[in-house]
Symmetry: C2
Subunit: 567 residues, 2 copies
Amino acid sequence: MRQQFLFSPTLRDVPQGADIPSHQLMLRAGLIRQTASGIYSYLPLGKRVLNHVEKIIREEMNKSGAQEILMPAVQPSELWEESGRLDDYGPELMRLNDRNDREFVLGPTHEEVITSLVRDELNSYKKLPVNLYQIQTKYRDERRPRFGVLRSREFIMKDAYSFNPDTESLAQSYDAMYEAYSNIFRRCGLDFRAVKADAGAIGGKGGTHEFMVLSDVGEDTIAYSDASDYAANLEIADLPDTFSESAVPDEEITSVHTPAARSMDEVSTYLSVMHDQLIKSILFIVDDEPVLFICRGDHELNDVKIGNALDAGTTRLAEEEEIRNLFGTEPGFIGPVGIPENVKVMADYAVKGISSGVCGANETDTHLLHVHPKRDVHIDQYGDFRFVKEGDPAPDGGGTIQFAKGIEVGHVFKLGTKYSEALGAYYLDENGSSRPLLMGCYGIGVSRTLAAVIEQHHDEDGLIWPRSVAPFDLHLLVLNSKQEDQAELGESLYDNLRQQGYDVLFDDRNERAGVKFKDADLVGLPVRITCGKKADEGIVEVKTRETGEMEEVHADRLVDYLNALFR
Amino acid sequence: MRQQFLFSPTLRDVPQGADIPSHQLMLRAGLIRQTASGIYSYLPLGKRVLNHVEKIIREEMNKSGAQEILMPAVQPSELWEESGRLDDYGPELMRLNDRNDREFVLGPTHEEVITSLVRDELNSYKKLPVNLYQIQTKYRDERRPRFGVLRSREFIMKDAYSFNPDTESLAQSYDAMYEAYSNIFRRCGLDFRAVKADAGAIGGKGGTHEFMVLSDVGEDTIAYSDASDYAANLEIADLPDTFSESAVPDEEITSVHTPAARSMDEVSTYLSVMHDQLIKSILFIVDDEPVLFICRGDHELNDVKIGNALDAGTTRLAEEEEIRNLFGTEPGFIGPVGIPENVKVMADYAVKGISSGVCGANETDTHLLHVHPKRDVHIDQYGDFRFVKEGDPAPDGGGTIQFAKGIEVGHVFKLGTKYSEALGAYYLDENGSSRPLLMGCYGIGVSRTLAAVIEQHHDEDGLIWPRSVAPFDLHLLVLNSKQEDQAELGESLYDNLRQQGYDVLFDDRNERAGVKFKDADLVGLPVRITCGKKADEGIVEVKTRETGEMEEVHADRLVDYLNALFR
């Protein structure tokens, strides 16, 4: 392709409103343009990368035995009513009515459509397992679209859905997807971790992993072990019960006046007590019953873990009024000692290790000293209710926890029977019994993957494409197109290299050398070949974008040289 | 792929509501399933064909120098206001509001988005011409979706838009697309014609061709010459002025009582006059002025031609009340003789040849005989105002016109400056003057193409895929999978043929031979290979689906045999 006619408008300056490198560089190098807030058009360079990523995905999905299909973006609302998600989804679900006033949604995901597609068809164990995937456009009306294609409202996903007769088969499908995803992200040149995650709103229980690309701009925090393979999303990273019961202190409980000291910091300062001897108390209402959760003052209670531990219908923080009614005191001074009998107490494991603790006295401006959990508190249950911190022990016994930021590019779920039961997708097993299909679902953010590759592959001058997804393999420059020997050498190399199977971007524009070099660095193709002053000797300069290494190579040897470089 | 696990639910019976072969067969062979009225999901076999068609399109588009991009389906309504099409489009345009109550449309086409994308960027003649294309999902809320993917509400299109500095460059882009389209449809195995067409609502003047696949189920009529390349959509197929003025008859005009004879048939019967001597008169209101169009009784006036000929703001049929007011008589008895001076008369060329005509007398239940156009009618202008008929002379002087039905699969347009002017897309020419970009637009109905291929390639037993788009190359059958020699030969061929680069669908299901043969015919892969009774001798039966030819081939020679067959 001749660069003169390539539609890739570049920008010299960092565009306003683009806060992260991938967004900035995709705009600057002319990969995308915004059509509306959170809605983008891919220009030729961007679309070329997308095509490469999609090809890799297709190859690995097909290799795994999955079959490609294509479902519509416009979905009948009735299907979402059947699954019960029409109301759950909230304003992120875009809706529209057709000319006959029938309601549709723009699909953010396809569990409903695919389940309705296979019901009545996958009706026998003989036809199972089946894994169906698509690469398709999805919609999510984000409250705050940002970061370019990382969090947009119209985006491309690869989603796959497996239908299995039993948990063993589901585990096999899950593992096959896990492996396919690992291959896909590796081939895209990404440094990633598969981390354990929370199943969240999509529903279903069982295994779930997120594929996280390590990056400072990531919105998720990964907790990983510095000595093992363990990695989990911060919100579900679990903690082992490593605390043994503390010794009972000599002192009895003492009440102390602590005017206006409500927060952990204020109490710690006022009483000169370390945070790890403070007891933090937070009241939840679980299915209309009050439950007091306590943890150490240097820890944070984790509502995802609390929600998962309770297996309750609804769990919410208590209102201030509810606290006053139950404890007869202001919020900020409640504690687990001597509380009403109808309030259950659940304690994080680490509370066990407190020997002489401090907690609210259930009396305004008052705390208790020398609190011992076993002696002084009626604890109904210990459990893992808090967020991990860096330095905590890893749950698999290997090393300690470290944090990293990650961009979620993939997600594998064991859905179970939530959708097959709701939408009536049953099969006959070997004994002729009717059973709901077991399902797994497996997503890759395709447009996100592109942004993630850029986050990991760029420098201050521009993009640095891994060859597997680069829009072109080679950037061929003629430094001064008015010099006949340079222009001639350029033209002959342009023909020759394309014949050898290389994708070549040919810059023979009538621009200054500096402009061409700057553009080449910005666009970031793996190898730059420059026809410059030594063109009359048949010598070109070859620069590897990633390492910056340059070498002079004779045109006759160029193909061999490149073949070796790319092997 | 093993057929046992292929998700391709077949149907024995013709599904209700499927009226044409392609719709029936796509459902029966498990290529598609309906998700909502006019909205379909593509199952694995259908998606494989789609992928092949898209690959052919991509290759030919890239070869033509066009660059692939990807624009969003959700488009801001503001852009459609800028172009003036928001109201013009009517209920076919699907609309929705986002969470902030901003209005969007689901794009039926992308002139607005692409013009807004290139404005400010394609700002110099040096960057032109550029041709950008995408393969993308479009929406049209059809009043009556039908014929499966031939007329659906969510469908896949390839659309391309060229930006040119002058008409010569636009003609080159247009011709390049014309050639690319011809290659694409030829490679898909289609028998098609490129026919001249009307520019219609999309706007713009100049050349436009439709690519029509010849088929009895087509909704368009093609008028073509039996002796030349001439082909045009019925609605615009033009007619030469081949009539010379008729001789003046001896008789003077005579009025005759024709009670209740209004229609051409009634008048013809009542007066025993041939249709080609009748003069049909229809009153139009053109920009608020009355214009009487007349043509021969055996011809039909063509409102597209009338609209194009007038270059008027609005053209419509007169209301009955307007006719009564102007002519003082009932509709059905009006004629061009002795009419009010403010009524212009426009006559189709063929009227010239009438020597002793019959027309309404502008008096209820009365007609005039012996009317001579030159002697008795004040004709303001002759022109080509009627539909062609079979047997009419072709306008290029070669042969006569024949009709055929066609499915429109592609369309190339010269748009001109309609959108660039409306949306402000200007460039600086060589003299530094600002000019609007000239545009062309070029569409292919991708999902339609699939249906069109089937319309031309099927028989009563099922599909007959051209190899270029077939979902698999080979259908390998093991007739009795309990026979060890058959099963073993099948397995070894399955491995071997895939290694040779063939896409193989392997039917080793535990089904009766009859079922397997029926399914194979229905799915219609180009070549069927059967491991049957002679498996112990290493002999298989090879059947070509299209011709039905069968031959016994030894497994050792099979690859050579197939290579020769597919070459």
